[in-house]
């Protein structure tokens, strides 16, 4: 008895060990280092110099615009993603023929096998002067500039993060009990009110998962706005890159990074709360 429990504990530790070690080495230790940096000072030649001060945090307003831009980009980008992803997920889960479903799902996931940097670079050339504008000029529409516009950034974001939104919504729609839809129709509901009252409501956990997943990633996004937006709008991600690699003000960069992590945690908790309140409490199960 005693021996088998010990053995089970040992087995648990053995199985959890690699993941735990990975988290400690690559998440906890760097986080502690950044927390220590954030109360330090910038050395005269750049880098970090030991100190115990909250000056870096007091200086946060100097990046207020970057925070504000990020707080706007993240929800707007996630919402745009959602609007495109929901019909796709709906079709995949409820309309697509069974034998096509797997192939279509694979098509959603396959672009992920290529790095986001490469795919965003490809968009630079598609939207650039020798891409779509050249085609438009061919049919007589001259001097259209697509690259380095807010529309290009939005397109890049929707394209880059779409699978992360489609998959959770697909999963929640796929589990939907079809009999609920029939019941709704039998009771005289129009297709629209069935969709709003049944389908949408029951898929909300998936929507919230996808939304918070995309939004958290967008809080740290800097690549797409730099490559497709021409670096003209400054996000927190851009501020961090500049502070670590250009002006090498590590303590200030660390203070911003810590603040960003805290904001992300708050967003996650809030999304979780909303998701449970809206749908979880009213979950209906027909056996």
């Amino acid at each position: 008895m005693h021996g088998s429990r010990l053995r089970r504990n040992f087995l648990t530790a053995l199985l959890l060990g690699p993941a735990a070690a990975w988290l400690v080495v690559f998440l906890v230790l760097p986080f502690i280092a950044i927390a220590v940096f954030s109360v330090g000072e910038r050395a005269p030649e750049g880098g970090y110099q030991a100190a115990l001060t909250l000056a870096q945090y007091a200086n946060l307003p100097a990046r207020a615009t970057a925070f504000w831009n990020t707080m706007v980009l993240a929800p707007v980008g996630a919402l745009a993603c959602l609007l495109v992803a929901y019909p796709v997920a709906y079709y995949l889960a409820l309309q697509a023929p069974q034998r096509w479903r797997l192939i279509l799902l694979a098509l959603v996931v396959i672009p992920f096998w290529t790095s986001l940097l490469m795919r965003t670079y490809a968009w630079m050339y598609i939207l650039g002067g020798r891409g779509i504008p050249a085609l438009l000029a061919f049919i007589g529409i001259e001097d259209i500039r697509l690259i380095n516009t807010p529309g290009a950034v939005l397109l890049g974001i929707v394209y880059g993060y779409l699978p992360l939104m489609i998959l959770p919504i697909y999963v929640s729609l796929e589990r939907l009990d079809r009999r609920l839809l029939e019941a709704s129709a039998d009771l005289g509901a129009t297709p629209i009110s069935t969709f709003l009252g049944v389908t949408l409501k029951l898929s909300l956990p998936g929507v919230m998962t996808g939304f918070s997943l995309v939004m958290i990633l967008l809080l740290g996004e800097y690549l797409i706005p730099t490559l497709l937006g021409g670096g003209k709008v400054f996000f927190i991600g851009n501020a961090l890159v500049d502070l670590f690699l250009q002006s090498r003000n590590w303590p200030f960069g660390s203070a911003i990074a810590i603040t960003l992590v805290l904001v992300s945690v708050v967003v996650l908790i809030a999304a979780n709360r909303i998701s449970t309140r809206v749908s979880g409490a009213r979950r209906v199960d027909l056996i």
Binding site: G46, Y121, G128, P133, I147, A239, S247, R248
Partner: protein
């Protein structure tokens, strides 16, 4: 059937340039590039057949079999390193960097693993202050001849009589203009900034680099490129904030935009200007008559270099004018060494992009170490970018 000389070539010139651009963007590695273009095989064959490579004077010293160099993208003739390996048995691993600050950060962190690297003039005093570069033993560099170097370009490599770095090549920071789109001739930074807000609206790029973007905004008012004065920087900031909404992009990767015709005008370094003009003749390179930046890239050896003998051997090899001339033909930047200039073809020396007239060079300033590390300028740049 055509009888063009191109028939039977392993690769067309257009395809070669495409592969070169892919290499530059990092889409393919150097190895892939050499394979795709046939350069690797060509080099290997050439090096074996023609025994032109000089033997280093100290070949007796044990050089090991590998070393690593940190440098800039598209900055060397790949054949140089292949030949060096043939000569000495030392394989050279090339690390490519995007900015001096990244190089400094890596060296400061320690254990970079480099035995040679390519810092720009304004960083050398900082490296010396941080004691992370080696005073060079000139006896190990017999191919270097200080008397043949233009002192204007070499002075920052020597601090208090000790040489810490020897020059690779020099260049300028001006601007490139698509003269088909912006037909009014321009000669000054004042015209650059004014045009950006008028005919060049939505088509102008500035560097994502505080040294040059703030420096060239200061030139609008005739102030020093390196100014750290509060009132002068305030004026430059005012100009930058005014120009910001008219810009096409804030980015140091300006070749794609200029080549595609989306951007009509950009701040530009010599080698990029030469490459753009070579491929698209209507793109001109202009040096502002008020002045601006002149720069020299140097070779230096880190204090903690794991293979100093090989670092010295490669440096000495690169200082051989016969080798250096190929380097210059490959990367397009002008040389500091009179012996190399003698070997360069006339059309290179007459190219005003590479070797501008003396009266345009006179007002140019070297970037200063204090300019680069100044926190005030870093914050100004952040305000400009977030405006």
């Amino acid at each position: 059937m055509s009888k063009s000389y191109r028939d039977g070539l392993p690769i067309s010139p257009e395809n070669f340039v495409d592969q070169l651009m892919r290499l530059k963007r990092g889409s393919i590695g150097r190895r892939d590039f050499l394979g795709l273009t046939g350069l690797g095989i060509a080099t290997a064959v050439m090096a074996r057949e023609i025994g032109i490579m000089p033997t280093p004077a100290f070949a007796a010293e044990n050089l090991g079999d590998r070393m690593s160099i940190a440098t800039w993208p598209n900055y060397h003739d790949p054949a140089t390193f292949e030949n060096f390996k043939k000569d000495t048995g030392v394989a050279v691993e090339v690390n490519v960097f995007g900015s001096n600050e990244e190089m400094l950060a890596k060296l400061q962190a320690g254990a970079s693993g480099w035995s040679l690297f390519v810092p720009t003039n304004y960083t050398i005093s900082t490296y010396k202050k941080l004691a992370i570069i080696e005073p060079l033993e000139m006896a190990k560099l017999p191919n270097f001849d200080g008397s043949q170097e233009d002192p204007r370009f070499t002075s920052e490599g020597t601090i208090d009589g000790t040489t810490y770095a020897v020059p690779k090549n020099w260049g300028t920071t001006g601007f490139a203009v698509n003269t088909k789109k912006l037909t009014k001739p321009m000669t000054s930074w004042k015209e650059f900034w004014d045009t950006a807000m008028a005919e060049g609206d939505g088509r102008t790029m500035v560097h994502d680099y505080q040294l040059t973007t703030i420096g060239n905004a200061l030139k609008y008012y005739g102030y020093s490129f390196n100014s750290l004065k509060q009132d002068e920087l305030a004026k430059a900031e005012e100009l930058l904030l005014k120009v910001k909404p008219h810009l096409f992009a804030v980015s140091s990767d300006y070749q794609p935009g200029m080549r595609a015709g989306d951007a009509w005008m950009t701040m530009c370094w010599t080698n990029d200007g030469a490459q753009l003009h070579r491929d698209i003749p209507e793109i001109a390179y202009v040096l502002g008559k008020e002045g601006g930046e002149i720069w020299t890239d140097f070779y230096a050896i880190p204090k903690d270099a794991p293979n100093k003998p090989a670092g010295y051997a490669l440096l000495n090899y690169l200082m051989n004018p016969q080798i250096a001339v190929k380097e210059h033909l490959a990367n397009g930047a002008p040389s500091t060494d009179a012996r190399v200039n003698k070997l360069l073809p006339k059309e290179v020396l007459d190219n005003p992009i590479l070797y501008p007239a003396a009266d345009l060079l006179t007002p140019l300033e070297f970037g200063a170490a204090a300019t680069l590390t100044d926190p005030g300028r870093a914050e100004l740049m952040a305000r400009f970018k977030s405006a």
